[in-house]
């Protein structure tokens, strides 16, 4: 969707009269591969911004390079560490997805709404996994409830029986996860074979169609999956949706990250127009000017460019969220709550935090 958005930007005359050019590399969702790719992009292609790093591990590995090169990093990662120094010492990182801490707050809202009383937490031992469960435990305690057992587990284990035994021994009514797909697959498979009923709240990057495919409908029945939802119904979403359908032959709701990637390109282009300069720090400061209130609400690059040319301030309302960056470069999207029912992942309601 970065390519599609840039195509739209260039066909609207480009930024400050220049065409935007995209160089693509694959991070393989692997920090080592991502560092090599980022080095190549920054040193060989001399790119000025890197858009679309997805996992926290990748973003945390790439951000020292973008900082060193004074390049902007636009990511969709969750790790809280990306908000603050040292990672974001220069304020050049902008996050288009909710932080893991915000996910944790959403989990707490959902657990309360679903009537759970005795939540336990299990986290993959990395910044993102622990960020989710810490966010949940803080928010849950702030509601005046007692937190249950908390387990941090290691990746690549052939068995998570010890971890599960510890958690299930406390008889929780729900287990809130900070987890990823492979470990969630192994843990749920092992849990099902233990025969102890419990409910699950899992981030949707782990509780996704691949998980259902891997485990089948019986194991995944009733799992509550949580993801941010795009700014559906907004004019920017409609534009993105049309582009996504053209490129992927699927509705834009199929991929929240694609909407974020679309917004990255549009926000960057608008910020360059607003900065009237290609200086990284001028662009950085302009991002909040074009994305946050006050200003005329705009939903596309062409519209924003025209208003900026007329001397007006703008507030880009994105396809992924209303896209208002806080002091840390973070946004607060809305959360969709999904339930896995007979192998189908069905959206139930939306939670705002």
């Amino acid at each position: 969707m970065i390519l599609a958005a840039v195509e739209e930007i260039n066909s609207a005359g480009g930024v400050l009269g220049r065409r935007m050019e995209v160089f693509a590399e694959d991070s393989q969702t692997n920090p080592q591969a991502a560092v090599l790719a980022a080095k190549k992009l920054l040193e060989v292609n001399r790119v000025r911004a890197i858009l679309g790093t997805w996992s926290s591990g990748v973003s945390l590995a790439v951000i020292p390079l973008t900082n060193e090169a004074n390049a902007i990093l636009m990511n969709t990662s969750g790790a809280p560490a990306l908000s603050v120094p040292p990672a974001n010492a220069k304020g050049l990182s902008f996050r288009f997805q909710a932080t893991n801490d915000r996910f944790g707050r959403a989990f707490a809202e959902i657990a309360q709404r679903e009537g759970f009383r005795r939540p336990a937490t299990m986290a993959f031992n990395n910044a993102s996994g622990i960020g989710n469960t810490e966010g949940f435990r803080r928010a849950w305690a702030a509601k005046g409830f007692a937190n249950g057992e908390h387990v941090i587990y290691e990746p690549n284990q052939p068995s998570y029986r010890a971890e599960l035994l510890r958690v299930l021994a406390t008889r929780p009514d729900v287990i809130v996860m900070g987890s990823f797909l492979p470990d969630t697959t192994i843990i749920l498979r092992e849990w099902y074979q233990m025969g102890v009923p419990v409910r699950w709240i899992i981030p949707a990057w782990a509780a996704n169609p691949q998980l259902v495919q891997a485990l089948g409908p019986a194991v995944t029945e009733g799992i509550i999956a949580v993801d941010t939802v795009s700014n559906e119904g907004s004019p920017a979403f409609a534009r993105y949706d049309a582009a996504y359908r053209r490129a992927m032959n699927q509705p834009g709701t199929a991929n929240v990250y694609a909407a974020m990637a679309w917004d990255m390109a549009v926000t960057l282009a608008l910020a360059i127009e607003r900065a009237r300069s290609f200086d990284t720090f001028a662009i950085r400061d302009a991002i909040r000017l074009v994305a946050n209130p006050p200003g005329e609400a705009v939903s596309s690059f062409a519209e924003g460019k025209a208003r900026l040319a007329a001397g007006q301030e703008i507030d880009y309302q994105g396809a992924s969220s209303v896209l208002d960056f806080d002091e840390f470069g973070d946004v607060t999207p809305d959360f969709g709550v999904f339930r896995i029912e007979r192998g189908e992942i069905n959206r139930k309601y939306v939670v705002k935090i």
């Binding site: 969702t29 068995s159 010890a162 074979q193």
Partner: protein, 286 residues
């Protein structure tokens, strides 16, 4: 609780033990640490998961894993290690790491980086001697036991097995007795590959199949090979079980993060106080 953990530990230990068996045999006979053993495992896991998806049979899947890993292992010998005969240990080790990279990259290209899983019916545990054992674990233990039985029968009950052990003991003497090194090497790499294949299938059933799974599992296999006494086949299997059980049973005491480190503390202690390993003969470390 400890019973359940012991069952998990035994399955984990057998996976480590089978890979350690491959590592230790290669070290005993070909005389270098085979860093490609983990990725040989991965090749077996992919073959097993593909065949299992097509046939639904765990037996066919195991056969496919054995065939694929043995083929990969033999290819490594014929294309790389045979040409390095007589070169330094470092050359062999670096070549093995390179071969591991090649296997991983080819698997990544062929199957992609998305996880694959075995679709197996998940049953509730059955009671055996008061222990609650998941039926799947039981099936895996049986498969591993049969495979180990085959390997040990081959090593101790056949002419080629005796010749392999003779080469491991003293290659020059073995050659003087007219044992052809090439034939021994081919047998070695086939058997070592087959053991990796079974381990890969088991790890794939227990976890998820990805191109990195074998490489990630390699460190524990090396630890078990050293712990068991380099070159000792029963030692490798025994040490694998010790490591697997130690990791699972210790977790209530040391926590989940440090249980992995525990294996290496055990290893460190062995290297410091009993360098020939638990089962190794005095002259086994050369």
């Amino acid at each position: 609780m400890f019973g359940a953990l012991a069952v998990a530990g035994i399955v984990h230990g057998l996976i480590i033990g089978l890979t350690a068996l491959a590592v230790t045999m290669a070290f005993g006979i070909a005389r270098f640490p085979n860093a490609a053993a983990g990725d040989t495992m991965t090749a077996g896991a992919y073959a097993a998961v593909s065949v299992h998806a097509a046939t639904g049979s765990l037996v066919s899947a195991t056969a496919a894993a054995v065939a694929a890993s043995a083929a990969v292992s033999l290819a490594g010998y014929l294309l790389i290690f045979r040409r390095l005969a007589g070169r330094s240990l470092a050359a062999h080790l670096v070549a093995a790491i390179g071969f591991a990279f090649i296997i991983r990259a080819v698997l990544g290209l062929m199957f992609g980086h998305q996880q694959r899983v075995f679709f197996l019916p998940l049953g509730w545990p059955i009671e055996i001697l008061g222990l609650r054992v998941p039926p799947l674990d039981l099936a895996l233990v049986v498969v591993a036991a049969i495979s180990l039985g085959f390997v040990f029968a081959l090593l101790h009950g056949t002419a080629i097995g005796r010749e392999m052990r003779a080469v491991a003991d003293d290659p020059d003497l073995a050659r003087a007795f007219g044992i052809s090194p090439d034939r021994i090497m081919i047998a070695l790499w086939l058997v070592a590959g087959a053991a990796c294949g079974v381990a890969g299938m088991m790890l794939g059933v227990k976890t998820v199949v990805t191109p990195e799974m074998g490489w990630d599992a390699l460190l524990s296999a090396f630890a078990a090979a050293i712990l068991g006494g380099i070159g000792s086949a029963p030692g490798a299997v025994g040490a694998g079980l010790v490591l697997g059980l130690a990791q699972e049973l210790s977790s209530p005491f040391v926590g989940f993060t440090y249980k992995i480190a525990l294996a290496f503390i055990v290893l460190l202690a062995v290297l410091l106080f009993r360098p020939r390993g638990l089962f190794g003969q005095r002259d086994a470390v050369r």
